[in-house]
Subunit: 136 residues, 2 copies
DNA sequence: GTATGTGCAAATGGTTTGCAGTGGG
DNA sequence: CCCACTGCAAACCATTTGCACATAC
């Protein structure tokens, strides 16, 4: 039932390193990390494998509301909190939506597959750097 | 308090056409539409104005979970339902989230600004075209 | 009059792809 | 041994930007 056939060294290392991280790296950040173990790997290979891993459900691809896509090695249900300044993404325990709620009976004929919930804010680091307090 | 100074013809027409639409056009689709009234307008101008209009809150820029960004002339609170096959976006009456809910007391030090909720599914048109019923 | 906006075209940046060579099963 | 996978580099495509000219105010 596996979508991919071969268990290549590259694929193994990419998955290992991604699952090791609690941050939600971009493809190129992960590329930099993986390159420490496999110096000859190419960015294209990282993209190809992340895509495959995401398709087989081993990994989650986070839609890019801003900037680049990010990937999450943790597939348990949870939401994300994205910093609108630096793009950093943290986890939040997911407030699960009740899709059976009557208000949304009308789905316009769609077959609903799920939802994506993302919180937006300013992370601690960026709050320190700029003044985000309303001026007196 | 307006973010932009000049009320140019281009800006006016872009806003008018966007507000006329209930679909959620991409920049280039809107460009095609606007060009019917202003044949000499450039795509760059459309992008520049959509960005400005979004910043001043007159228009809403929908984060691109897949593919291109889309723009919404309707700024009243509502959620979106995106077709994962063709990218089409429809409106749904927003099930408003209660951010005061105790479960999410821990925001990891973030200053939370809001959230983005997007439903994913397959639109009526795409359901007809491909067989999305589980095979017997 | 002048700063702001426009058209054009070239640059950017993330992601994808074609191809010849490699290595997993 | 053979086909899925890799490395490389070029292609892609949405978006952004630099510049000279135009225009709203």
């Amino acid at each position: 039932m596996n979508t991919f056939q071969r268990n290549t060294q590259q694929r193994r290392v990419i998955l290992e390193e991604l699952q090791k991280l609690t941050s939600h790296p971009t493809a190129s950040l992960l590329y930099a990390i993986v390159r420490q173990r496999l110096p000859k790997i190419s960015l294209g290979t990282v993209y190809r494998n992340l895509e495959l891993l995401a398709q087989s459900g081993v990994v989650k691809k986070l839609g890019h509301t801003t900037g680049e896509a990010r990937f999450d090695g943790d597939t348990t249900p949870h939401s994300h909190l994205r910093c609108v300044e630096c793009g950093r993404v943290d986890d939040v325990s997911a407030p699960v939506l009740d899709l059976t709620g009557g208000a949304t009976d009308d789905w316009a004929g769609y077959q609903v597959l799920g939802y994506q919930l993302e919180f937006l804010g300013i992370c601690p680091t960026c709050r320190k750097q700029t003044n985000h307090v309303s001026n007196p």
